[in-house]
Symmetry: C2
Subunit: 327 residues, 2 copies
């Protein structure tokens, strides 16, 4: 039985709680929160919710701590700190800062003899693994990542911060023609605008200047200015009724050529269609917790990514069953 602790209790953490329940070799031991523990109601009966600063005293009762903090403010300090007392798994997803995060976590985990799996989930995570497999197998090729159709929480938050906006749900949508061209093996050069469009459902304050909000969204640098963006104003009732979920997904596609004269076109696509982005991400984190335990029994310590995890370590199946039923 792998004993799991969860740090934080937002959407991702709830997904981890649900995923643990689906895996008979795992057990949720405790949830740690920065909020008042008495105010946090979890789903699993009989499992304590505790203050974050009590976590260290649980080091002998928890094997793997799954860290469900944010990449901007929490994980850069939280992951190295927890790696001193536990094996840890995080979903750090600020791509540009991954090398620095890796270095900090690796130092802490090596010193304490723990394993830390960072930046896992689906992107970074499963999409990264598929970029790696595909590029290793088709060295002469080009890969493309399309996201969506799905809710981008970062973009939704950016719109919510605008004056006059009460709520927003932003959908990222791949351009169908771009997807078709890539799937056909054409290997086109595509601009940001040619790959994805953005669609914002916005609830505005009563009397807000909707034209000004629309203009502010469409010209927002980094987030929207490089995209064709559509803004649609809806009521809070419509928001709750039609946009309560957090669906997402996307495709990693690599097309390459093989043969003495590059005469054969070969295309690999990995595609996710997700009703719930946080629950799926959580399911990946939980399988990585299992891998951390298996790798540690072989004497491995330090920071690991999905690139370092042999697929067998993610699974509860025995080698015999894998060879007989999956290979």
């Amino acid at each position: 039985m792998i004993k799991i602790g969860i740090v934080g209790y937002g959407n991702l953490a709830r997904g981890v709680e649900c995923a643990i329940r689906q895996n008979p070799d795992m057990e949720l031991v405790a949830v740690f929160t920065r909020r008042d523990p008495a105010s946090v109601q979890i789903l699993t009966a009989g499992v304590p919710v505790l203050a974050l600063d009590q976590a260290a005293s649980w080091k002998d009762k928890i094997d793997v701590m799954i860290l469900c903090g944010g990449s901007a403010k929490d994980l850069p300090t939280m992951t190295p700190a927890f790696a001193r007392d536990f094996h840890v798994v995080d979903s750090f997803d600020t791509h540009a800062n991954i090398p620095a995060h890796f270095a900090a976590v690796d130092a802490a985990a090596r010193e304490s003899g723990h394993i830390a799996v960072i930046s896992t989930g689906w992107d970074p995570g499963l999409f990264s693994v598929n970029r790696l497999y595909a590029s290793a197998i088709l060295p002469q090729g080009k890969d493309y990542t399309f996201w969506g159709k799905g809710v981008s929480q970062g973009h939704s938050d950016a719109v919510r911060r605008l004056p006059g906006v009460v709520d927003c749900r932003q959908y990222t949508i791949p351009v169908p023609e771009a997807l078709d061209r890539v799937r056909s093996g054409e290997n086109p050069e595509l601009t940001t605008r040619q790959k994805h469009t953005r669609y914002c459902y916005v609830v505005a304050e009563d009397g807000a200047d909707k034209a000004a909000i629309e203009q502010a969204i469409k010209t927002m640098p980094n987030y929207f200015a490089d995209y064709d963006t559509t803004v649609e104003f809806i009521t809070m009732e419509q928001m709750h009724r039609d946009h309560a979920g957090l669906p997402h997904g996307g495709s990693v596609i690599r097309s390459g050529i093989t043969g003495w004269n590059g005469e054969s076109r070969q295309t690999i696509e990995y595609k996710l269609t997700l009703d719930s982005n946080p629950q799926f991400t959580a399911s990946v984190l939980v399988s990585c917790a299992r891998a951390a335990m298996k790798m540690h029994t072989r004497g491995i310590t330090g920071c690991q990514t999905v690139f370092d995890i042999a697929p067998a370590d993610l699974s509860p199946m025995s080698r015999e069953d894998m060879l007989a039923h999956l290979l």
Copy 2:
């Protein structure tokens, strides 16, 4: 520089030769054949073609031997034998006999201190890895493997052995409605007949009884009897003009549920669209040869499958580049 030898010189071996040329960290050292070496013309200038029984004397000049023999008669004895003198990679694909093959190869490779990667390619191989990832991440789910549209060489050969048949190309074709139902996350129960159809292009001898050939194909047990099969007679000229290639591909799809009450449907699809089945299989074998070398430097020996290979070991990229550009 990884020094590669190839055993055999059919379609797969030629694909290996082409793939080595695409990987700057690899070098083809020699090709070994059962035929008269003087009769075998390879593509790479300056590389010797030698008799199979000379291979052992090349043990200090070759790092990894890629074994391109057949699964029925060659590999069961060839892979353990070569694992005594070399790291080896094979594409053994008789699913039911994989556990026995693994045991025989593992014993030989452990004794000699080599690594043997068996049963790699795309199925078994990449499809297997994707079945494993998907089942580890979505434990409550069901997976489906669809093959095609593509040429099945085993089925083509079976038809070629019928009296009156000069040549045949058999295409395996997924049933579009079945694919749609699986992609939608419906998790249907599908019979063999509901998943794939088979289409045979047949060149018959002059004066052959075409009705009898068609009947013999459609009722052939194991190969065709459980499928809806179409037989079309064509000329040898049409065969050469329209069916010279060996395209293939397919999809591994797993749909599962997550959430406290299984309320979210999550679907993972891995799809290959291949102009050349043997060249793609060969590209996977070559990346596994690199993995064998990397794993051996960490002291690993014995038989390995794609399940045991950390993705990073397949790639020539440095860890720094992977973290910065792929994760």
